[in-house]
């Protein structure tokens, strides 16, 4: 299977103190048509890893290591070159559909922006492409002239999905795209992402802290803890036969709808005594 992304030995540290690592020695590979979930708690470095791949890391941070995307090392590109990749070959979806859309522009305009910028589409060709994109995410073509505040949270996230796939990227990075949504809407968006990924054979990097979502969408799982990858492998292996003590502890915290298991909070002191930190 075609490898789309290969991250090797990624380190992220503070510019002011390069010895303080926020992310250390992260490696991951993504193939076409496959979804990898990065799971971890707040501060585990999962979002920083995604931001680095997109070239959106804050200027106060520095990264080292290799980010090879379709054979090109993204860390060697300048801003202009990176901009040509971002939004065209790499699509992005963020958590908050309320704040990631511009409230004074119609959703049709916002979906079309990337098409004009990257593919030079204009006029009727642009209009038709925008309408077909909106239709593919389940929004009627007539809503193209609506403003974000006229849509529900789920519809806004659908618009975000339409924007992210507008240029048919080979990699889609989704950072907690369903965390802010109701559970029924979440199920719809997850199903939509799965269908689009299969249809377009995209590689998807999906960041979440919800193991239920992981079960529904992942092929492979990467578990991060305090900036490091502690476990990685196929979903079934990581969820059903976790090897690392942190993965086991994290899974023991997850409430289940069957209510059969006893919740057990993570004993960080115990983890630190082991060979974790």
């Amino acid at each position: 299977m075609a490898q789309i992304l290969n991250v090797e030995a990624l380190n992220i540290s503070l510019k002011s103190d390069p010895t303080r690592f926020l992310v250390r020695d992260v490696s991951l590979q993504l193939s076409a048509g496959k979804t990898t979930c990065i799971v971890g708690e707040s501060g585990s470095g999962k979002s920083l890893t995604a931001l680095t791949i997109m070239g959106l890391l804050s200027e106060q941070l520095i990264s080292t290591g290799k980010v090879a995307f379709n054979g090109v090392n993204l860390t060697e590109l300048n801003n202009q070159e990176m901009q040509a990749v971002r939004g065209a070959e790499i699509g992005m979806i963020f958590q908050e559909p309320m704040t990631s859309l511009n409230p004074v522009l119609t959703i049709g305009y916002q979906v079309g922006e990337a098409l004009t910028a990257h593919l030079g589409l204009k006029g009727m060709a642009l209009k038709h492409r925008v309408e077909s994109l909106l239709a593919s995410v389940g929004i009627p073509a007539g809503r193209a002239n609506s403003y974000p505040d006229e849509l529900s949270g789920g519809q806004r996230q659908r618009v975000m999905v339409a924007m992210s796939i507008a240029c048919e990227p080979s990699l889609l990075i989704a950072d907690e795209p369903t965390t802010a949504l109701d559970v029924t809407v979440q199920a719809q968006i997850l199903a939509l992402l799965r269908a689009l990924k299969d249809e377009m054979q995209m590689a998807m990097l999906f960041i979440t802290h919800d193991f239920g979502v992981v079960t529904d969408i992942a092929d492979d799982v990467i578990v991060m803890f305090r900036g490091e990858v502690v476990e990685a492998g196929p979903k079934k292996q990581v969820l059903e036969k976790p090897q690392h003590p942190y993965t086991k502890a994290l899974l023991a915290c997850v409430p289940d709808a069957a209510g059969k298991k006893t919740l057990k909070p993570i004993d960080y002191a115990w983890l630190e005594q082991g060979e974790v930190a």
Partner: protein
């Protein structure tokens, strides 16, 4: 409707609550239309138990919490605490009653005053209700902080010096320091990491046993419900669509809406 006034096991009850909001509508918003946030909602909370109120955004579950605590006026219906209607109380009696009805909020970042020290935040209720002298209050606050897993020395710190989970512990200490009978928890673990969520859920369960608390637990997370609640009320568009014990509702949901909610829980393969 069945009259529960004699039923001593019901500590908090809402009867036929109706709450309407006025919404601008029509051309240029000159018209007005009414939206019913609560459309005849009745719930009852059994003493020492946990009642989960679940529903999606806009279902009216948070409005119900605010009406129950008399933090928001409602059009009709009544709220009974220990069989007594709260609408018959004057403001002084209501203030005394509030000691027994406390709340834990969702966002531990927004619900703690950033300019107050933790000791002041947790102790404010004791001060307002004039309970104990200064030394007794201080001791009580320190005990409570230690009980929720913080340190007595934390009284001098400010909220920003704590993590999200620790702030939620402060919020719980603030609610429980008054030794209330009922605690309304509005999405208390939704903003927390799953590991912290498990800690807080277990803490709430322990405290419930120790202090014989009754919880009204508002959440959209049906996985959490299964771990904390005895009974459940499912709300949709301002109405209760299904109610029962958690086990019964999860095993055989009767309403299509409840079935859809349960089916949408992620991770069921």
């Amino acid at each position: 409707m069945q009259d529960n006034r004699q039923d001593a096991s019901i500590i908090l009850e809402a009867r036929n609550l109706v709450k309407e909001y006025t919404q601008r509508s029509g051309s240029f918003g000159f018209g007005q239309s009414k939206v019913k946030a609560l459309d005849g909602v009745s719930v009852s909370l059994k003493k020492g138990s946990t009642l989960a109120v679940v529903g999606e955004s806009g279902s009216g579950k948070s409005t119900l919490a605010r009406c129950l605590l008399q933090l928001q006026a409602f059009e009709s219906g009544e709220v009974l605490f220990n069989g007594q209607s709260l609408s018959t109380l004057d403001s002084k009696q209501l203030r005394q009653m509030r000691k027994n009805l406390q709340m834990v909020f969702q966002d531990p970042f927004a619900s703690l005053n950033p300019r107050m020290r933790v000791g002041e935040i947790v102790g404010e209720g004791l001060l307002v209700h004039g309970l104990g002298n200064q030394q007794a209050r201080q001791e009580k606050v320190q005990q409570m902080l230690e009980r929720v897993g913080l340190q007595a020395g934390d009284v001098k710190k400010y909220p920003h010096q704590f993590s999200g989970g620790q702030r939620q512990r402060i919020g719980i200490a603030r609610a429980l320091v008054l030794e209330p009978e009922v605690v309304v928890c509005d999405e208390p673990v939704s903003a927390l990491d799953v590991s912290v969520q498990a800690q807080i859920l277990l803490l709430l369960k322990e405290l419930q046993q120790e202090m014989q608390l009754s919880y009204l637990f508002i959440t959209h997370d049906l996985r959490v419900v299964r771990h904390i609640a005895d009974d459940i009320v499912v709300m949709n568009k301002g109405q209760v669509v299904e109610r029962g014990t958690v086990d019964a509702v999860y095993q055989s949901p009767q309403e299509a809406y409840t079935q859809a909610l349960l089916k949408a829980i992620p991770g069921q393969g």
